[in-house]
Symmetry: C2
Subunit: 387 residues, 2 copies
Amino acid sequence: MRTLITRIAELTTNVALDGDPCGTLVDAAVLIEDGRLAWVGAASDAPAADETVDAGGRAMIPGFVDSHSHLAFAGDRAAEFEARMAGQKYAAGGIRSTVAATRAAGDDELRARLRGFLDEMLAQGTTTVEIKSGYGLSVADEERLVRLAAEVTPEVTFLGAHVVPTEYADRPDAYVDLVTGPMLDACAPYAKWIDVFCETGAFTVAQSRRVLEAGAARGLTPRVHASQLGPGEGVRLAVELGAASIDHGTYLTDDDIGALARSSTVLTLLPGVEFSTRQPYPDARRLIDAGVTVALACDTNPGSSFTSSMPFCIAIAVRDMGMTPAEAVWASTAGGARALRRDDVGIIAPGARADLVLLEAPTRVHLAYRPGVPLVRQVWKDGVAAG
Amino acid sequence: MRTLITRIAELTTNVALDGDPCGTLVDAAVLIEDGRLAWVGAASDAPAADETVDAGGRAMIPGFVDSHSHLAFAGDRAAEFEARMAGQKYAAGGIRSTVAATRAAGDDELRARLRGFLDEMLAQGTTTVEIKSGYGLSVADEERLVRLAAEVTPEVTFLGAHVVPTEYADRPDAYVDLVTGPMLDACAPYAKWIDVFCETGAFTVAQSRRVLEAGAARGLTPRVHASQLGPGEGVRLAVELGAASIDHGTYLTDDDIGALARSSTVLTLLPGVEFSTRQPYPDARRLIDAGVTVALACDTNPGSSFTSSMPFCIAIAVRDMGMTPAEAVWASTAGGARALRRDDVGIIAPGARADLVLLEAPTRVHLAYRPGVPLVRQVWKDGVAAG
């Protein structure tokens, strides 16, 4: 079955073209075959197909690649959010209340939540999602979370080192022993990535190094939560260890930026966090101009960022972080793919997965120009029309 | 036909109760009959009905009342938005490019756009929409816009005094003669409200007074665009003339706030404008604490705010304007109704229109807690389930 989608007014391919990183084509068409893209080009040159879909002069972009989420949890923290908006500061310790709710939930409840979030995200154009553990914090509970996450995505991250659980509050190094020993043994078979929250109130640089090196020794590639609540050494540790991504980066020093620009580590910005914790937004303009590769992700979690909307993150990135609409769309598609070291998503090119988003708009600029409006008209995931 | 909606975890009635302006009920139910609400109360006390809808422990709020929009136009200004995000300042003069596109469009094109926007808004929970003219700026074109708007809403505003059109650029008072004479004659039969953009670059206070008084003499009630781009005398003029609402209010003086607090004029804040023009957000906290009645609206228009999402405006109002989630929800429902002097919408009470929004969330707080996520699960307009 060959499906041609034609009359695409503006096609963001992310195959760099004449100095345009978005590789923008106008009046374009794409051909889907067996879940992959078989051809991409001008509508007037389109090959024959078994069925044709008329895009009606709308814009198309690659499916969003959301490279940072914490979807495996139970409960919510709406009351904490409300209190914070009334003036209370965000503290990482709030994670523990979600740990209690998650531990108390059955597998089927967690599965239903995961499926619910993935459906919600797909309807908003997200076709690839990374999911972290980190609300279990015991061997059995972390194993359960990576196992359930692996049922719905190949991009599973073991984040046993999310926060020190209450029962280890006075002996954090003993908890790191657990994470790097029995917990890693139980979780590694389900995970692709190892992550740590390297921040004051969570794990020190030395502890973070232990976690990441232990994971790497088991074949997991590092990614690091760092510089969310203040400046720290997490970024340089991530670069030293060849992490795929450092995530947050709200507070970066010039040294951090230089190290990132010289590395292959992606900086994943999470505008939903600054939005929902009322922190200052990072200056993405400065980062991009310095040569850092930037991705955008939602960081969907019940504490610091409960959005699952990549279009919302794009709008904030443009309004408050100095990105152009083209840069923000690139960062939420190709940038996310780089952060996950994937070359089959985040791009519209022959051979890539047919993960496509047709917008109810003539340009990708509308994602920022029409903030909050559900502009995703149709999504294809592996060539199959969703919804 | 009597339809009972039951198992509503949190019902925002906006009928003040024990110091709660939102009149919040838990575990509630509502009964719809002939497009109106026939009964509202505890689920355990619900009367018999012909059919029952299970709200499944979700939250319900009144349909949003969007009291400020400019939906009657053609074209868009995505390129202007993109340039502004790259550093160019917003100027009211950009309105003229939309005037040219609107004048060139046929009635059927404008009708299709209007219906498209109303459908888009309904899907996002908006059940009452005010629509202004103002992209015609000739007798025939303004008459056409109010006539087409009146086909889809009773809340039609004649805004011939939106900006001085190019052909009157060197004789603005002659344009005011036209607006208050033949244009008003042509438009008054279709309109309920008279509005003017009282701002440097648009109309002076003296010109604004002429427009509003002429409209009032024809039975139209004033509403005023003021203090969007800088402080001015528009607010005090609006209060003096008993306007239903002053809209924008980005730059208010202490005198403005005192005058509003002592008046029956609503202050309609439009967060989408500050978002899309990168202006500073007004301090809604200060306004509410001073006793001003605040409404929230989208100001959907192609120049300064192309959102149509009341949930987005609520999220911004909470994050950046100091409103509590409860205040923001009240302002976007009951507040909008006050701004339109309506007592049959924006409220969930016996006798009111059955305009209802069921959220995919257990509380209204989630509208701010989950920014950008389409949380509207089901909408009823005049008792009829939409979509």
